[in-house]
């Protein structure tokens, strides 16, 4: 029921967000050529680079990146083991690794690609809404090529679907801050990784090349 509600709201939001026609529809096959050539199977998620003032954003995003990547068909180095591996090799800080060779991750751990996430901004907007400016970059450990990249801002409105405004506001307030903030991070990750080609454990693996993709930079409003 909740999923249906989210989908209906998304329908209204995205359809009316921009009706500007485009002459060309970019497809996954042309935009992610390097991805389809390299076919990364094992992905390591780096702790996000947090440039926002929301200290906990780093953890909110880190823990909620695992599921969408796995659901897309990738093997993801699990978070507990992954953090220990990074600390063992003094590679925990994404800021130190970003832009440098990642070959050691391939030779040492069998990791094919590393996901870097940067949180530029996390701020409250209006009542019960949060706007996050975030980017995702999947980089090959062997060729160092960028296999996938997107940046955008996601505004998440927390809503309640009762008929009463007072009840709705109370329900939003009662939802713990943790639940709300985790939901925000989750929504951003699902949206930010939506155009990522499917991995080997998905039925759509290598069969999604003719799927059109969104702009490199997106702006979207969701309600949940």
């Amino acid at each position: 029921m909740k999923t249906k509600y989210i989908l209906i709201v998304l329908l209204f939001v995205v359809v009316f967000h921009s009706c500007a026609p485009t002459n060309q529809m970019a497809l996954k096959r042309s935009s992610y050529e390097d991805y389809y050539e390299e076919k990364p199977a094992c992905v390591m998620i780096m702790p996000p680079m947090n440039k926002s003032t929301k200290v906990e954003a780093k953890q909110f995003f880190y823990v909620t990146l695992v599921q969408p990547l796995v659901e897309k068909g990738f093997y993801v180095v699990p978070p507990y083991m992954g953090i220990e591996m990074l600390k063992n090799e003094s590679a925990y800080d994404a800021e130190d690794l970003y832009g440098r060779s990642l070959l050691a991750a391939s030779t040492t751990w069998g990791v094919d690609a590393v996901l870097f996430t940067t949180i530029y901004d996390w701020k409250k907007v209006g009542t019960g809404a949060v706007m996050v400016d975030i980017s995702y970059e999947l980089r090959s450990t062997t060729s160092n090529k960028v296999l996938y990249k997107r940046r955008g801002d996601v505004t998440v409105y927390m809503t309640s679907n009762s008929g009463s405004i007072l009840v709705n506001l109370a329900a939003i307030a009662l939802k713990t801050a943790f639940t709300r903030e985790i939901s925000v991070a989750k929504s951003c990750n699902v949206i930010g990784l939506a155009d990522l080609p499917y991995g080997a454990h998905s039925k759509l693996y290598l069969n999604d090349k003719d799927t059109p993709i969104g702009e490199d930079k997106f702006s979207i409003v969701v309600s949940q």
Binding site: L7, S18, V63, Q67, P79, M85, W109, P212
Partner: protein, 113 residues
């Protein structure tokens, strides 16, 4: 037109998220709590969730699969609390289920020798 296609894809994506082939338990909450404050208590919560996921997916009537990484993380934590043979068994299960994990799991096994 591009927006419409993107929307349709997003709808399909979100629909598929609601019918995952995996069972996650309270993965986000337990992982967040541990990563925020790495204490023995939060580690127990994390292990409890992994046990729950494994138990749920191993049940005779379960239609869900173990997500990638669960056996590996759980096995590694078991080894760290002294349950070495039990932990190694889970790590080996991870490699069988997800062969692309072999190098990462072997790295961990080498470190704990």
């Amino acid at each position: 037109m591009r927006k419409v296609f993107h929307l349709i894809f997003l709808v399909i994506l979100l629909s598929s998220c609601s019918s995952s082939k995996y069972y996650w338990g309270s993965f986000d909450k337990s992982t967040f709590k541990y990563n925020k404050k790495m204490t023995p208590e939060t580690k127990v919560l994390l292990m409890d969730n992994y046990q729950r996921i494994i138990g749920h997916c191993s049940g005779p009537s379960s239609s869900k699969e173990i997500p990638p990484g669960i056996y590996a993380d759980y096995g590694y934590m078991l080894i760290q609390i002294g349950k070495v043979s039990e932990g190694k068994a889970f790590l080996e299960k991870e490699i069988v289920l997800y062969p692309e994990s072999e190098k990462a799991v072997n790295y961990i096994l080498e470190k704990i020798k």
